[in-house]
């Protein structure tokens, strides 16, 4: 083997080794890397029961109930298989609306109600002008990956 070829093999070896190590590490940390759990995972008991975690999914159509005179709001987060009721008090982001993605951070109570202290909107990858959206109805609620 020429020195040049030896160096080439060395460089490719470094890349392969680091890629395998990185892949194994990410595989091991799979759960921790997940930014949120969806309602199906919560129903299966995969989400931590006594700790704060993030719940992600779609805000179910027609489920948002605001308490008059306060910032308290209740809604249902669904992944179209299972759903979890959420209670939150505070200001909601601009993109929060029924039929759109949402990530709530908080705790699951014994009664099955998720009490959130932070709600983030999750936008999907679809961009279109309002006219196109009106013409395309109803796919705005299509599930996202």
């Amino acid at each position: 083997m020429t020195p040049r070829r030896r160096r080439l093999v060395l460089v490719l070896g470094i890349v392969a080794g680091v890629a395998i190590a990185g892949g194994l590490a990410l595989q091991a940390f799979r759960e921790n890397v997940m930014f949120f759990f969806d309602p199906t995972q919560v129903a299966k008991g995969e989400a931590p029961a006594d700790e704060r975690f993030r719940l992600g999914g779609m805000v179910e159509k027609g489920s948002v109930v605001r308490k008059p005179g306060s910032l308290e709001v209740q809604f249902v987060v669904t992944d179209f298989q299972r759903s979890v009721p959420v209670r939150y008090t505070g200001v909601l982001p601009d993109l929060f609306r029924e039929g759109q993605g949402v990530v709530a951070h908080g705790r699951l109570g014994a009664n099955g109600v998720f009490t959130a202290d932070e709600v983030l909107a999750k936008h999907d990858e679809n961009y279109m002008p309002p006219e196109v959206h009106r013409a395309l109805k109803p796919p705005a609620t299509a599930p996202q990956g």
Binding site: F35, L92, H123, D124, E125
Partner: protein, 245 residues
């Protein structure tokens, strides 16, 4: 196979002259396309059905993020060529990529935070995509820091090249993070198989911006490469001739 064309890249005066001649061919089209793309994106494109005018930050954010990854890939490939073929010009190219890539990463993170506050409701979340992009910035900064910490240029080249090559595993992690894990960041709208999930009047200026930013990156790279070659060859006769001409 005749490899002389490849080895000529290794000749500093040849590469310097080539970079100088090529720069305007990238810089002017870049300026033109970015001007057209900005006008198209900020004025002509319709507002988004959900985000209104706020979505227009995509015209800077997405091309910056794309180049933050592409600059790193180029840097790692150049560093690997420099390491394997002992080519100083390739190390000079890798060193020139780093600050440009770092600034594109800063631009991607900064514009993303400005968009995240009104849309998601937060500037920052420790989300896989956002965290991996931050790691990318640290890789760039670590590479730049490592280079400047080692005085002997040859050792600086070789040591930093290993860091650049090791860090390249982060590039697919940034790219695929939104598909591998649950993430608050949306899935790709353009850089994916199949039909783009962004309507044509909005997509056209975005594609123009992608091409414009890529040309801008090449133009900046050529300018930095010339500076890097002059700095490395400062004791050579040809540099004295170039500088005094």
């Amino acid at each position: 196979m005749d490899w002389t064309w490849f080895h000529r890249f290794g000749s500093p005066p040849h590469l310097y002259g080539l970079a100088r001649r090529l720069t305007p061919w990238f810089a002017w089209p870049a300026a033109l396309l970015i001007a057209i793309g900005l006008y198209g994106g900020l004025v002509l494109a319709p507002p988004d059905y959900q985000q209104g005018d706020g979505f227009r930050i995509i015209y800077v954010h997405a091309p910056s993020a794309w180049l933050s990854l592409m600059a790193y890939t180029w840097m790692a490939v150049a560093a690997a060529i420099g390491l394997v073929w002992r080519m100083k010009a390739a190390h000079a190219a890798a060193a020139s990529c780093a600050p440009i890539g770092a600034w594109f990463t800063v631009a991607a993170l900064g514009t993303g935070m400005l968009w995240g506050k009104p849309m998601w409701g937060t500037y920052w979340a420790w989300d896989p995509r956002l965290t991996a992009e931050l790691v990318l910035l640290f890789l760039y900064l670590g590479y730049i820091g490592l280079r400047s910490a080692i005085e002997d240029p040859q050792r600086a080249d070789r040591t930093s090249a290993v860091l650049a090559i090791v860090g390249v595993v982060n590039v697919p992690i940034v790219r695929y993070s939104v598909e591998w894990w649950n993430s608050i960041h949306q899935a790709p709208s353009v850089m994916k198989f199949g039909k783009p999930s962004i309507s044509w009047p909005m997509l056209t200026p975005l594609l123009i911006m992608f091409i414009g930013f890529t040309l801008l990156f090449v133009a900046l790279l050529l300018v930095r490469l010339r500076g890097e070659i002059l700095r490395r060859e400062r004791r050579a006769q040809w540099v004295a001739e170039v500088v005094t001409e």
